[in-house]
Symmetry: C2
Subunit: 308 residues, 2 copies
Amino acid sequence: MTTLIFGHQNPDTDAITSAITWAEFQRQSGNTDVEAVALGTPNDETKFALDTFKTQAPRVIDAANGADVMLVDHNEAQQSVADRKDSTIVSVVDHHRFANFETAAPLFIRAEPVGSCNSIIYKMYKENGFEITPQIAALMLSGAISDTLLLKSPTTTDLEREILPELAKIAGVDLQEYGLNMLKAGTNLAAKSDLDITEGDAKSFDMGGKTVRIGQVNVVDLEEIYARQADIEASLKAESERNGYDLFLLVATDILNSNSTGLAFGEGKDKLEAAFGGKFDADDRLALPGVVSRKKQVVPPLQKAFEA
Amino acid sequence: MTTLIFGHQNPDTDAITSAITWAEFQRQSGNTDVEAVALGTPNDETKFALDTFKTQAPRVIDAANGADVMLVDHNEAQQSVADRKDSTIVSVVDHHRFANFETAAPLFIRAEPVGSCNSIIYKMYKENGFEITPQIAALMLSGAISDTLLLKSPTTTDLEREILPELAKIAGVDLQEYGLNMLKAGTNLAAKSDLDITEGDAKSFDMGGKTVRIGQVNVVDLEEIYARQADIEASLKAESERNGYDLFLLVATDILNSNSTGLAFGEGKDKLEAAFGGKFDADDRLALPGVVSRKKQVVPPLQKAFEA
């Protein structure tokens, strides 16, 4: 049976492109019976990247049905394919913390605390002397731009600062111009439903026994979010009730000014205030100055507040 | 504070030497504030290796006291330092399954399903162009010989078949002669107490909610074990009662003929029979023909039997 390669649920650009670039890595390793798939459809930003570089979106699956799996850009069970326990995890390439991850047998893992999953895959192409075609470079580039907000997120490491210009050159694009166009393509709120905004990029975390859902949406002007705040809050409430989230936080991130605002529904809004040292204002918005990274600036302080 | 590098509790030769070779890797990377330590004293086999190559045994610790830690040759919490939750895990290099492993932040992990932890560390020296001195080669060699029973265990991969002759050459020893001498040094039962035999190399596993303890002892003649069977069984019983193990299995392995015999105390002896398709005989011994690897031939079938 073909080995399935996929990133996390609600895939972002790094999750989708990592699956494609890791599948190509496998093929160059001589392992041809692999397929890059996805646990969801590409978002607008990812569509822009795939369209620009004439790449087909991976087939969407909702179950692995016992196939061997290779995970990219995630490891936690609740962010993975629903029936993962029926599959053998052959390998993991990831740049997130490890949790809710257990295997019956030894496996291949390559994890590094760098800015994107594609950064690690890029290193492995180099180590193995594999060819990086313009299309593969473009996909790696897009994933890394997305995850590092074009090198502006605090998750950025020297590795991305070194390889993004090189990948842009191989891909034949101007890094700044392509990067900003791609990021902006993901900020078209007019094209997003309320549910797209709240759930489109959301991930679940277990924090001190509570299920905390954290979504993130990129914008070029936070006023666009404020104009739809009542509807967005209704969506946070409805999804929390439907799915049993204890707290649902939406982080709206201004990618031009590197600031965010939090909107939230559920218990533990005091935990949010404690975590970020601020207060929800009269409009029920929590200012998150300088915050752009869920992984580095939102999850760790919130986890700490919930476990205090 | 100095970063501590260590392998699992009840350290075997691969656990002890991996800590030393990974510490040297860190130093060659420019990370000098590290110390190779151990969660126990070297066993007779490891002592032989350290003595042969004039290497001091790592300092034994029973707590990390909040220091950053780098794990080698293990990842599961119950096999690690007791106060690990107070430490940040900076990196893991391992060749075991992953379980009971959770971090708050992204980290470096290099895991591969190969025969020894030192095999992975060797690859990384090569990838980075680092120097492998005769002493470092000898320590890597010793760890890999121990874990693969001199290339005879089914955990052996092409990687060990390739690198062991090369490491022996750098270390200036004959692979077969040194390997057999080292393995035999670990089989001197006369020098071991009953507790050394049962607990000396034991690891705990959670199987279907039960705590299963599995020890292993290498011998050149299984009769040596049978001669002490009553005392060994008393030790299995005493340790189970003291530590709350649901089942304690001792695998006595004949390293010359690649066979094992199981002795056990506790509930679930039927699970053992189901797992290995045999019966405890009139002397309460379970023949395990061809079994030499706890990781590959004991844990997986037993886990399956307990979770059935």
